[in-house]
Subunit: 444 residues, 2 copies
């Protein structure tokens, strides 16, 4: 892609309305544009990142055997009256009357809709477990939308639902999602910590939030810092292995403020291991048993002829919010350098040729290098503008492709000036650069 | 995928509420489930087909240099008041008041929103042309939603917008989309004919509908049947070649009923070439110059210092509707056989082993064959249920994977019973089957 053709309205300075760095960068570099309060359009740069995040989320859902469906954005109020949440939900629910004066709403979540799908589709324990997910736009009419897409009104979310025959089987499903969340955030190069959390309006008594550390986060967290050293690399998609993983994480105190108990914290966590800080919620999982299936009569035939309400859980990841969360974690706002993880970078590599009027030699060289990179499945951005070199680098540092090749007067022979963004330049041949980046891609 | 695990609520009989064959098949085979009037959830089988269509549409947009963005579903009424369409649009627009009593709406189309993005982003002719598109859910509050997803209220659509410096350049953009539409529908194995059409509420004076023939279609069409023999195989993405393509198509009379003129039709089309029939609109393109840019003050600096309003066109493809349109074109409802084009089939191939109680030999064989097929990037559905053979075949004929392998008692040695759906069985080795399907895939 040529930078001159890319639809990327870059601002000279940070927009004054943006208070946190993800909001600043996203407006500054033209990733999003506000449509109205808390509602954004995604421009090409932001859209590419969000799509790559979505695809990683999808792949990790598929790996645990979840099946993708797609529920509509507009729901009937009927099912919410059945569950009893129509009144409870309050003003955050965007309520709509259609032309026939029917009460509709823009889905803020989908427990009711998916329970309706389940109860009218399956009747037998033989069809269980079922794990269904969708990735769809949702709306919550926040009174004070802020921080750009981090706390917007229209947002993009993956939500999954599990259906099981018993509590025991349901915990197995819960643990599958627990693992898939750890894997998903790892691929996004985020350290997300599962924390015991309140269930809020979703209901139930078992719940974890997945939180990444960030000073700008809205969640206050209290942990035993040793939990940050854990990983799920050895965990297998199998009942016992998943249980071990849960135990391993739950041995350390780790809660959000709604669950915080000072006395317990100080009792179980020795002083040197205590960490009290802030974080951003990027995922939230719930087990609520028969809360919805009972209210909405979603029952299944058990072996032996009895019936019971199906046991359900729900599992959310904020896909659009993750774009902001990754920026909060990876953007060096002092030096104005964004370093996207390769797995979700809008471009793998940026080519920055020095172009003077009537001297397009460096640009031609860039075009040739680009062809080789594209042949190797890389997504390349070429700065073909005639701006001065330092503003070119400044711009590329904001765009944040993880790798850059500088093509200047000095570039002679086979060696190219290659750098990882924000690091020192190295002289490498194109073949070595390609090998290096491929290797990085394969680790993901 | 094992059929017993697939979330696919199949009905024994055609649902009585469905009047056309796409609606019948989609409900029958569990591709969709109605959420409320004109609003549907997409279940795994339907979702897979829609996603494959979406991806083909996307690839063909990218090939002509269009850049993907994503505008929100909920828009502010302000921009619609600027264009003057807020009142005009009538009751099909779903109007919403948020908690702050602001007038919002669920976007039925996006000319205003994209004009707002453009005017606040770009100012110079140097940045043109720009082709932007998005694929997003839209809502039109039809008074009488019907025919399932063919005429639903919430629907999935690709819409693109072009921005140019002059009429001449704008026609070039228009022709790029014209070509990309011909290519898109061809990859979906549909014969879609461009027809001169009315511009309706979008405005402008140049417009083509792309229509596929179908008895159940809502559009009445009048054509010179020789237009069906044309193709764009030789057309290149270059000004003159695109103009030739337009001329070639426009030499034959081909209009929808709003544009129909009996006298002209009978004058220019000889009797043996006249075709009066029905069709389904799957795409619609418009050129409307400065209709929106003038009303919304989206101007650009021209070379020499003058300013002018940017020239715009818009280009829609009904992605969710195409699922239905393909069924209307490919479903043999007499024999209850659906044959998905390989490019969008939910599964490439179905394996149907004959399974008796305590005799799982055929199933094991199927699992082994499946592994080989998956290694070759094929999407495989295995019927692992214990139903009788004829109901298995019946079900697979409705699901519509284009190829089947029957694994019965007879299957011995290296040859397998392979068939293209609805055709005769052939005995082929697995290697030959894989080669055959790969070859079919490559032609797409």
């Amino acid at each position: 892609m040529l930078l001159s053709k890319l639809f990327i309205p870059i601002l000279k300075n940070n927009p004054s309305e943006a208070k946190i760095k993800s909001h600043q960068l996203m407006l500054r570099v033209g990733m999003i544009k506000q449509a109205s309060a808390g509602i954004y359009s995604w421009l090409p740069l932001g859209f590419k990142v969000m799509k790559k995040i979505e695809e990683i989320v999808r792949q990790e859902q598929n790996k645990i055997g979840a099946q993708e469906i797609l529920m509509p954005t507009i729901q009937s109020s009927e099912i919410w009256k059945e569950s009893g949440r129509y009144e409870d939900y309050g003003e955050e629910m965007l309520r709509i009357k259609d032309r026939q004066k029917r009460e509709m709403l823009y889905g803020p979540t989908n427990e009711e809709q998916v329970t309706e799908i389940f109860r009218s589709s399956l009747k037998s324990y033989k069809s269980l477990p079922q794990l269904l997910y969708h990735i769809q736009w949702k709306f919550r009419d926040e009174i004070r939308p802020r921080f750009g897409i981090m706390r917007g009104r229209e947002f993009y979310m993956k939500d999954a639902y599990s259906f099981d025959v018993s509590d025991e089987e349901a915990f197995y499903s819960y643990n599958k999602f627990f693992l898939s969340y750890l894997r998903t955030f790892k691929r996004l190069s985020l350290t997300a910590i599962p924390m015991a959390a309140d269930t809020g309006p979703i209901g139930g008594n078992l719940s974890h939030e997945f939180i990444i550390l960030a000073d700008t986060g809205e969640s206050k967290i209290f942990t035993d810092k040793r939990i940050f050293d854990l990983n799920s690399n050895e965990t297998e998609l199998e009942k016992n292995s998943l249980q071990q993983m849960r135990k391993k994480y739950e041995q350390y105190y780790s809660v959000t403020d709604e669950k915080f108990n000072k006395e317990e914290f100080e009792k179980v966590v020795s002083e040197e291991n205590r960490l009290i800080t802030k974080g951003i919620e990027v995922g939230h999982i719930f087990y609520f048993g028969d809360k919805y299936s009972k209210a909405m009569s979603a029952s299944i035939d058990l072996p032996g002829g009895k019936k019971d309400f199906v046991k359900m859980g729900s599992y959310g990841i904020g896909v659009s919010r993750l774009v902001g969360a990754i920026i909060e974690a990876k953007y060096d706002d002092k030096n104005e350098i964004m370093k996207w993880p390769l797995s979700v970078a809008p471009y793998d590599i940026a080519l920055v040729p020095m172009i003077n009027k009537n001297d397009t030699l460096a640009l031609e060289k860039a075009m040739n290098i680009s062809k080789e990179l594209i042949k190797n499945n890389m997504d390349v951005l070429i700065d073909d503008t005639e701006e001065n070199f330092s503003s070119k680098i400044k711009k590329m540092n904001l765009i944040g492709a993880p790798y850059q090749i500088i093509i200047g007067k000095k570039s002679e022979g086979d060696l190219l000036e290659f750098k990882e963004i924000g690091k020192e330049t190295q002289n490498l041949s194109l073949i070595n650069i390609i090998e290096f980046i491929k290797k990085q891609k394969n680790t993901n």
